[in-house]
């Protein structure tokens, strides 16, 4: 196997006495989609926060294409090419859909801003299906469209690794199919994705392999089918009696 694009080793972070993430290791190869699973409170979002630089790890390393990013501030990690969506969508609410998208490209790779940013931004909006709403205020969008917009903002930064935090949650079946296709098309363009996800249908159809966390630690890794059948994973989700 060639060197992974995103290489996370022994990542750990405590909050007081709580070990939110403990010795987590995972790899995401170029163009791979990796699922990060686990029951609520198992540390998945904390793991994303550590990788994206929103939180500083106590220990461990995060390497993007061999370059250490652990401990670097959020904005630097974003400039290096790790972009994320939030579990609870975070948009620039009173600004327009177009401005929200431009925000993703103004401070990262090409510093695109102003008039020259409009064509590429519109192209991205077209891709996520929001071109017709470019001049709407972000907060006036429906929930699903807000999620789409957040993804467009991430893509605007031309990320090498995309971190999706439950991006598929709350969609209806038709929207879910569209969203899955969208994520798959990103993979074909060579974007590597680490996704925290509870929608198992999506995990099965998208993820090349999965990492399962419980109580801050990795308890399983492998293909979606194999980890979902793993007795320890079942126990983590359902408790002892049902296993």
């Amino acid at each position: 196997m060639s060197k992974p694009l995103l290489d996370v080793r022994d990542l750990s972070r405590r909050f007081g006495g709580l070990k939110a993430v403990e010795g987590l290791s995972l790899e995401v190869g170029q163009g791979e989609i990796v699922g990060l699973l686990g029951p609520n409170g198992s540390g998945k979002t904390t793991a994303l926060n550590l990788i994206s630089g929103a939180l500083r790890p106590d220990r461990g390393s995060v390497k993007l294409d061999g370059l250490e990013t652990a401990g670097a501030p959020n904005f630097k990690v974003a400039r290096l090419g790790i972009s994320r969506t939030y579990q609870l969508v975070r948009l620039f609410k009173t600004m327009t859909v177009l401005e929200n998208t431009v925000a993703g490209m103004s401070f990262t790779h090409a510093h695109l801003f102003g008039r020259e940013a409009i064509p590429p931004a519109m192209e991205l909006l077209d891709r996520v299906g929001l071109a017709a709403r470019a001049s709407h205020r972000a907060e006036d969008l429906t929930y699903i469209d807000q999620k789409r917009l957040e993804l467009a903002r991430c893509l605007a930064s031309r990320p090498r690794v995309l971190l999706l935090d439950e991006w598929l949650a709350g969609l209806n079946p038709k929207e879910l199919l569209q969203a899955i296709e969208l994520v798959r098309s990103l993979k074909h363009e060579g974007v590597s994705i680490l996704m925290v996800e509870h929608v198992l249908e999506a995990v099965r159809s998208l993820c090349d392999h999965c990492v399962v966390m419980n109580a801050g630690q990795r308890i399983a890794r492998g293909t979606a089918a194999s980890v979902l059948a793993d007795p320890e994973v079942v126990r983590a989700y359902l408790g002892d009696e049902d296993a």
Binding site: P73, F75, A78, R84, L91, M95, S106, H111, S157
Partner: protein, 305 residues
Amino acid sequence: MKSRSTVFLIASLVAFIVLAFAPATGNDYTTSLLINLLLYANLATAWGIFCGTTRFISLATVAFFGVGCYSVAMLAEVLPWPLVLVVSALLGGALALLIGLCTLRLSGMYFVVFSFGIAELIRQLVTWYESKFVGSVGRYVFLETSPAQIYWQLLILLALLWALGAWLSKSRLGFALRLIGEDESAARSCGINTVGVRLAVLMGTAMFMSVAGAIVAPRWTYIEPSIAFNSLVSFQVVVMALLGGVAAFYGPVLGVVPLVLAFEVLTKYFPDHFSIVLGAIFLLIVYLLPRGLLGIGEKLWRKVK
């Protein structure tokens, strides 16, 4: 779009040129009133550029202003005037850096309270220093300047501030500032060094406030901490900026004109009830004009269209 901004630019330029002739045509009273107007126009515009966009409501305006006044009181006899202005700007910037570093993790109410506290702290520190080491709380400022000269300096300062505001509204830095005001963590994840942007703009606007304080200091001839660091100034600046509207850099000025005139009348006829009326005006603005005169103007404009 482009023609509109050109019209705005030309209108601003004409306004500044016309204003430059005001002292020659009016009397001493009008000049002193205009100085007041320009002083608050400077303070409120500078306040709006940082606080309006980032939504960090600062009550430290008078701290920067007072630092400017005191640079004059302490240095005017030793240094040439331009250098005094430079020193006051640097001191204001340094103070802003300190305040900025202390408030990196504060937002909302906590930032407001901190900024108010630090202004009061500085006032007390200066009082303590003056009485302990200088022996007298007040200082005299004897400088040969005419009201017209003060007026022109303030006008130039406002022109610079205006240019800064116009540039920010079109630049990447200004865009970053707006994004920070909307959602700071999302701004960070877009690659914005939010700490750096906040510090830089806070320092920049604070320098203008300090220089404004330095320019008007010679008017008083006698200053003491309770004059130079009068917290009422900070509150007035907030009220004016909010009345005008902070969505655009030229908004606060719209609030400065009516309120400076109103305060002029108030201090003349109701000197004892000044703070009560100020508070009432503040409440009315917040309840009736949440987005200021600028917001009303926009609403009307949309209806006309």
